[in-house]
């Protein structure tokens, strides 16, 4: 592949109810093989995708929430959560899974992949993207 681009995935929807959250994860995992720069953003109801303790027994859907913890192994370690979206829903970072990666430049130390951002930072992030995929 000739050049590297910045792929930004915007996740806006709750994990269940529509197929978008599941599909987004699918594209991210397949896209990881292309060795591009990847950033994931969770905004609006999308923040629910990362909540701890999901249980889908009652709705007959596959609980795919554990897959997010594999992202670090795919070198997907720039994960941004919109602060306002959390606040609007009465959530804090403590309600979310802790996603980590092992930093190969720092003796494989385990580090957090997650960063809280405000709307201004979100706008910047979108502005700097080469390819925007909205889910």
């Amino acid at each position: 592949m000739s050049d590297t681009k910045k792929f930004v995935y915007i996740n806006r929807k709750a994990p269940y109810g529509t197929v978008y959250a599941l599909e987004s994860l699918e594209v991210v995992l397949i896209g990881a093989a292309f060795e591009q720069e990847v950033q994931l953003v969770f905004v609006d109801d999308g923040v629910y995708q990362l909540t701890k303790g999901q249980n889908t027994d009652g709705i007959g859907m596959k609980n795919f929430s554990k897959t997010y913890s594999a992202l670090g192994d795919y070198d997907v370690n720039q994960i941004y959560v919109d602060e306002q979206s959390l606040k609007d829903r009465g959530l804090t970072m403590d309600d979310l899974q802790e996603l980590t990666y092992e930093d190969e430049d720092d003796d494989w130390a385990e580090k957090s992949s997650m960063k809280l951002i405000n709307r201004e930072q979100l706008a910047e992030l979108i502005d700097e993207a080469d390819v925007l995929l909205n889910f």
Binding site: D3, Y20, E26, G31, V131, L133
Partner: protein, 130 residues
Amino acid sequence: MKFAIQINEGPFTHQAADTAYQFTKAALENGHEIFRVFFYHDGVNNGTMYGVPPIDDRNVQAMWSELAEKHDLDLVVCVAAAQRRGIMDEDESNRHGKGAANIAPKFRISGLGQLIEAGIQADRLMVFGD
């Protein structure tokens, strides 16, 4: 400019597939290049040849096939989305024992990697539909 097109909605409920078609046609007429058209989510329903809309309605699927014939477009249907919704070529149909294929002329079935590649190769990836 080199465009890639992503279509996320089926042919009739939403206007997204029509708009994507009009955009693609206009881009080609104005000398731009279309690297690939990728059909995703319900967008894969644009790729069935069994759609028979009323005679006074447009046939979005046939419009795509014609445009692809004329400009040698690469129309790609996402395989996982297509399997879920029953869009199959000969190989897929045989593999799943379904007896008949329904993929429209000039469409082909492939994976999500084709979408990522389109994002890398094109100057702009245009997304139509939710």
